[in-house]
């Protein structure tokens, strides 16, 4: 119960300050600090973006996806691969922020989070 309270507070604080909420996915599991619902939302968006990246990459004959970012209404969502993780089973680190953040800044914040 206390975890849920902490998660909702973290979510509210991030939404109020329009800061990115970070998540990590790998080995079939997604983790976040802003609650189950927010993590599932990230997971669903992650699957969509990965599918789009693969479909487009096939047409371009470019298969190694490094990152993906999307704007959806007033939300920015994206992910990068963690280069420090196992290359055979790499982790993905992503974020959601409730504003249209410049994509360059968004990717930089995700990479900073990876390096922390």
């Amino acid at each position: 119960m206390s975890d849920q309270t902490e998660n909702s507070e973290a979510l509210e604080e991030a939404m109020a300050k329009q800061r990115p909420r970070f998540f990590r996915a790998g080995s079939g599991v997604a983790r976040g600090k802003t609650g189950r619902e927010d993590t599932e939302k990230f997971a669903a968006n992650l699957m969509s973006l990965q599918e789009c990246a693969l479909l487009l990459g096939e047409r371009l004959e470019m298969n190694a996806v490094a990152y993906a970012v999307s704007y959806d209404h007033d939300e920015t969502m994206g992910f990068c691969f963690d280069q420090n993780s196992d290359p055979h089973n790499p982790d993905v680190v992503g974020a959601i922020v409730n504003r249209r953040m410049p994509m360059r800044e968004f990717l930089a914040s995700v990479r900073d989070h990876i390096n922390q």
Binding site: G28, A43, M47, Y67, G78, M103
Partner: protein
């Protein structure tokens, strides 16, 4: 915006920064392409992008900008109603600059279509309604304008295989979703092409001639006969090779006479 202006504007964008490819499409119809790909691949890209846009739309999502990074470069896609601008660029940090330029171009293009509508005699209200309904007057190339022709309507896509047909009611497979850490689940590989038709086949629109006209047949027969006769002549010419007047006897050194030991 006439085709020359469209071409020059997008060509200028193509030369900006580290951009190495630009594709502009309306739904699955390619309006402009300057990318290092064959036309078939560009058309395939436009179709896939249309499917992606449809997928987001059926989910009540408004993904109007996507950016992807690959080993070979970066891909930026800007959506605006039915228009899509795909930009390939090398430097990742340029993504916001490129997106801004892409969006400005699409807005200019839409305004030019609006102005063209007004020029064609539509009232402001009708032109606005047409823009909202995305009625796009077909661009006419200069040579076609001289001949009084218009571009053919866009051909319709038909899914070839029913089992992978686009189904707007098909939900995302829940097993694909990863859950919170409290409920670990096995990773599911994203199915290839799920929700999208595997193949598309373009069929000619109604009214297009499917059989050659008698005149065309007559002309093609005459051409064939001419080609056949010229082909026979070509063969005759090459049965007897003609040598140059001055021929060296041999390019090899003269044989050495063996020494006889007694």
């Amino acid at each position: 915006m006439n085709p020359q202006t469209l071409t020059s504007t997008l060509s200028s964008l193509r030369k900006a920064g580290s951009i190495f490819g630009v594709i502009f499409s309306r739904q699955s119809e390619v309006l402009f392409s300057d990318a290092p790909f064959v036309p078939d691949r560009v058309a395939d890209m436009a179709r896939v992008l249309d499917d992606i846009a449809f997928y987001f739309q059926k989910d009540n999502r408004n993904a109007d900008q996507l950016a992807f990074g690959y080993d070979g470069g970066n891909l930026l896609i800007v959506f605006d109603e039915l228009f899509r601008l795909i930009v390939l660029h090398s430097i990742q940090d340029e993504v916001d600059f490129v997106a801004k330029a892409a969006r400005a171009f699409i807005k200019d293009y839409q305004m030019s279509l609006f102005a063209q509508d007004l020029k064609n005699g539509r009232s402001i209200e009708e032109a606005q309604a047409a823009m909202l309904q995305n009625e796009v007057p077909k661009p006419i190339l200069p040579e076609q304008e001289e001949r009084g022709e218009e571009l053919r309507p866009t051909t319709q896509r038909i899914a070839l295989k029913a089992k992978k047909a686009i189904d707007p009611t098909e939900p995302i497979n829940p097993s694909m979703l990863v859950s919170h850490a409290a409920a670990p689940a096995e990773a599911a590989e994203p199915p290839s092409g799920s929700g999208y038709a595997e193949e598309h086949i373009e069929q000619p629109s109604a009214g297009e001639e499917l059989e050659p006209s008698p005149r065309t047949t007559t002309i093609s027969q005459a051409v064939e006969e001419e080609l056949e006769s010229s082909a026979v002549e070509l063969h005759r010419e090459h049965t007897a090779p003609i040598l140059a007047p001055v021929q060296p006897e041999s390019t090899l050194p003269p044989p050495r006479k063996p020494k006889i030991k007694r």
